[in-house]
């Protein structure tokens, strides 16, 4: 159970696939248009329940509870060998230019 007052993420389905009318590619039309908003949970609930949250600026939103304590997990990615190569090559090129002069 997720406790009242917890920082959570909700999902709101704005448009079901069949309601999407804009000029969009088929693959986008097949899926719903949804939004996610983070905020403080207003009542004890389980993941998947319809809940109310209050966002960090005090606005109330209703939607499906999808995540407890959401956080940002993006990073600097995995090692990309080409980037190290490029850096070493460029430094070497500059060294050679500076030697000539």
């Amino acid at each position: 159970m997720v406790k009242k007052g917890e920082w959570v993420k909700i999902e709101k389905i704005i448009l079901k696939p069949e309601e999407r009318t804009a000029k969009i590619p088929e693959e986008t039309k097949k899926v719903p248009y949804v939004v996610h908003i983070n905020g403080f949970l207003q009542e004890d609930a389980e993941l998947g329940d319809e809940v109310t949250i209050v966002s960090r600026i005090g606005r109330t939103h209703k939607g499906k509870l999808i995540e407890e304590k959401p956080s940002f997990k993006h990073n600097f990615g995995d090692f990309v060998p080409q980037l190290v190569d490029i850096s070493i090559e460029l430094k070497k090129e500059l060294e050679e230019i500076n030697k000539i002069k």
């Binding site: 704005i14 448009l15 309601e19 999407r20 804009a22 000029k23 969009i24 590619p25 693959e27 986008t28 097949k30 899926v31 719903p32 248009y33 949804v34 939004v35 996610h36 908003i37 983070n38 905020g39 966002s55 960090r56 600026i57 005090g58 606005r59 940002f72 993006h74 990073n75 600097f76 990615g77 995995d78 090692f79 990309v80 080409q82 980037l83 190569d85 490029i86 850096s87 090559e89 460029l90 430094k91 090129e93 500059l94 230019i97 500076n98």
Partner: protein, 479 residues
């Protein structure tokens, strides 16, 4: 109140009018034309006043650096006697880490002055952070609406970082799946809150960039005693080139003009990838500064979330270059390795274009790259390239020309592999006129319309009349 999609969309005009506080009717000349300069004048601040407002909120006066090592390397690959000097305007030094702080500063100041309780912007770019940052300083509430994830809930690392920074500045972030219906979310939030629409395309947003162009000329004259020959501008929605050029021209008007300065737009080529595709969404390594915005906004600026768009790129654009994703990543790595400054990839789009441009100019020519953006987790070549690899895109070294968007990213072997492509401005202007005919099919054009168009796409009236005539006769022939 009915908050269904169709109900909210049908109230678009009244919601926008209230949320912008600008009466666009005032500038209307006819269905087609409007008084652009009057609209811009109504912002009501001189460049110096704008600079003062920006100074209060940690914007502007960014450094202009001579990239001596990059210039040396460019000369190695240039024909004899060629290889222009490259200067870089370090816009990452603005409060929110990009030139977008200039655009947000005036809008948020205006919202504050007019008593709005908060501001809203719909953007997946650096502009969200800029609005959130300026709102934090002015004590206003802020909502940022961003297209963040695909139907598998996977978000581009670059956009996820942009959500994080908005959150860090205290904004409510509405993160959406892929689709133009983002516009509904914007309208709905504006209606619910009565906040100011800090759109990218208001006169305030564009006037805020004019200080950038002004500073460039002021700084370069002190360093070189003359004006730059080219200013290269990363181009998406058109605001950057419009505002920068206006600032340059204002400076040259106030103090005497020196040599001519050409305005070069530059976008990352993302042709072949659909902007509203749930599948293509995570196959793009760039989420701004690309042709997916750059081309359509040049061809028809009034597709924006304001009745008339203050960003009108064809008025000022002298050239339009495209570069590949691989070239921009290489340029980003080069900036770190040779100049010791690590900046975000998307902001280096214009740097990638400038390399090739400089190679064919005399050594005493000056090329200014007018922006950088902050870097960090997600907004980084390694984050973006390894994310691309996970989405099935091969990372190769070779000729960037051989890249296939959505399948490969080709990192140049050295600077000799840099080769921008130039978009034919005449063709862009023809598309603009085709859009005009499509948008106003039954409207009889007046003389003042041709005058407006002549300014709006920087072309002779005669050519415009002939082109429209040709478009209309093609339509008649059922093409």
């Amino acid at each position: 109140m009915d908050k269904s999609y169709n109900a909210v969309m049908s109230r678009k005009n009244e919601i926008m009018k209230k949320a912008l506080g600008i009466d666009y009717e005032k500038y209307k000349i006819s269905d087609i034309s409007f008084d652009y300069e009057m609209m811009m004048d109504d912002v009501g601040y001189s460049i110096n006043e704008i600079a003062d407002i920006q100074k209060q909120s940690k914007v502007g006066n960014t450094p202009l650096y001579y990239l001596s090592n990059v210039t040396k390397l460019i000369r190695k690959y240039s024909p004899k006697g060629k290889g222009a000097k490259i200067y870089l305007k370090d816009e990452a030094a603005n409060a929110s880490g990009s030139f977008k702080a200039r655009r947000a500063s005036l809008s948020v100041y205006e919202a504050f002055k007019r008593g709005y309780k908060g501001v809203i912007a719909a953007t997946s770019g650096n502009y969200g952070a800029a609005v959130a940052s300026q709102a934090a300083m002015r004590g206003l509430k802020c909502i940022i609406i961003q297209e963040v994830f695909d139907s598998k809930y996977v978000g581009q690392p670059e956009i996820v970082e942009k959500s994080r920074i908005c959150d860090a500045m205290g904004a409510e972030v509405i993160m959406s799946s892929v689709g133009p219906e983002l516009f509904y979310s914007l309208l709905s939030a504006l209606e619910d809150t009565g906040y100011f629409n800090a759109s990218l395309y208001t006169p305030y947003s564009i006037a805020g960039i004019e200080t950038l162009g002004w500073e460039v000329i002021n700084q370069i004259r002190k360093l070189e005693g003359r004006d730059p020959d080219y200013i290269v501008v990363t181009h998406a929605g058109g605001g950057n080139i419009t505002g920068t050029a206006r600032g340059v021209l204002k400076y040259k008007l106030e103090f005497k003009p020196h040599n001519n300065t050409e305005f070069v737009a530059c976008s990352v080529d993302l042709s072949g990838l659909h902007m509203a595709s749930d599948i293509d969404f995570n196959k793009k390594s760039f989420t701004t500064g690309h042709t997916g915005f750059g081309v359509p906004f040049a061809q028809w600026p009034d597709r924006a979330d304001t009745p008339r768009n203050a960003a009108r790129p064809l008025r000022y654009m002298d050239k339009y270059l495209t570069v590949t994703q691989g070239e921009v990543f290489y340029a980003t790595e080069m900036l770190a390795a040779l100049e010791g400054i690590e900046r975000g990839p998307a902001g280096n789009t214009s740097l990638a274009g400038a390399i090739n441009l400089a190679m064919n100019l005399d050594q005493d020519a000056i090329v200014v790259v007018q922006e950088t953006e902050y870097t960090g987790a997600g907004k980084h070549p390694q984050a973006q390239l390894s994310f691309a690899e996970k989405n099935g895109i091969k990372i190769l070294r070779g000729n960037p020309e051989d890249c296939i968007n959505g399948k490969t990213i080709v990192l140049p072997r050295n600077l000799s592999d840099f080769q921008y492509k130039e978009i034919d401005l005449k063709k862009l202007k023809m598309s603009y006129l085709e859009n005009l005919v499509a948008n106003f099919p039954k409207v009889k054009m007046l003389e003042e319309d041709f005058e407006f168009l002549s300014n709006d796409i920087n072309e002779e009236t005669k050519w415009i009349k002939e082109t429209i005539f040709n478009i209309l006769s093609e339509h008649k022939n059922g093409k």
